[in-house]
């Protein structure tokens, strides 16, 4: 039996992305989240609305941040082997470490996002060491 991987699908602006479920602490409303814990603008773009969020424990101290998304579209279980790396030239040229690879879902190429790296890269965040990229 092949190893599987749980991925969370979410939408930011017009883009649909995937992330590993274990990167997310919970999903919920952003209404009561303090503004300093909200992550609105990221490499993925800016959400149309500020209603839903994915809570991520990104810091070494376990502090939670909430990535604002337009929709959490659900969880899918896929074969772990379906998670692929981007072609080297593409991954080398990106100014973000948040793109961990891609998966093909229903015939569409969907980028797999490292949520912790994405939150660490948010504007105004403290710089991180090069080796702090999540596996």
């Amino acid at each position: 039996m092949s190893e599987t991987c749980e991925i969370l699908l979410f939408q930011v602006g017009a883009g649909v992305f995937a992330a590993r479920v274990h990167d997310a602490v919970r999903i919920g409303s952003v209404r009561d989240v303090p503004a300093e814990d909200l992550v609105v603008i990221t490499a993925l773009g800016t959400p149309f609305e500020r209603t839903r969020g994915i809570v991520i424990a990104a810091g070494e101290d376990g502090r939670e941040h909430t990535l604002v998304v337009d929709q959490a579209l659900g969880v899918r279980s896929i074969p772990a082997a379906d998670v692929r790396a981007l072609p080297p030239l593409a991954s080398e040229c990106l100014a973000s470490r948040a793109v961990a690879g891609y998966v093909e879902l229903d015939g569409a190429l969907t980028l797999l996002i490292d949520l912790r790296a994405l939150v660490r890269e948010r504007p105004g965040a403290a710089p991180t060491a090069p080796n702090q990229r999540a596996a």
């Binding site: 883009g15 603008i41 990221t42 490499a43 993925l44 773009g45 692929r84 981007l86 072609p87 080297p88 030239l89 593409a90 080398e92 040229c93 990106l94 100014a95 973000s96 470490r97 948040a98 793109v99 891609y102 093909e104 569409a108 190429l109 969907t110 980028l111 890269e121 948010r122 504007p123 965040a125 991180t128 090069p130």
Partner: protein, 169 residues
Amino acid sequence: MSDSRPPEGTDPAPHGGGSEAWFFCLRILGGRYAFEAPLVTEVVRLGPLTRLPAAPSFLPGVFTHRGEVLPVLDIGQLVGHVSIPIRPSTRAALVHCGPWKVAVVSESVEGLVAIPRRALEAPPAESTGVAEFLSAVGRDRHGPVAILDLPRVVETARARAVPAGSARA
């Protein structure tokens, strides 16, 4: 999705013997640009493009071709800061540059061109814009052709990209 391949059985090597050199010609930025024909494996229509976050403008995205995900290179953005419009009809040349396999997007594909060796000249001695990437200029019966040093183009693209960790989104 494939449209054409360099014909087999020909010797398109531009530095081989014979009175003509073979190149693969694309229209980019309204001009005729070519590179060494053996670098091109096929010509395809671009499928749906997936945009990459935090990608430089000359890397408009990736697309799937026969199960393989390929980066798309917009030479117009790299050398002239002008995007080549990407539509469903847009075609790209798949090229191998050393370890890299990329799809070079174009306004249109002309295909193989033969240029008499005596018509090949050194490029202009400018170090800016597209001149920086030319290995030669030539002329065939359809007019002038600028010969791109494609490996240098790809290496420059890598060098100009902001490495992850050195910039913020």
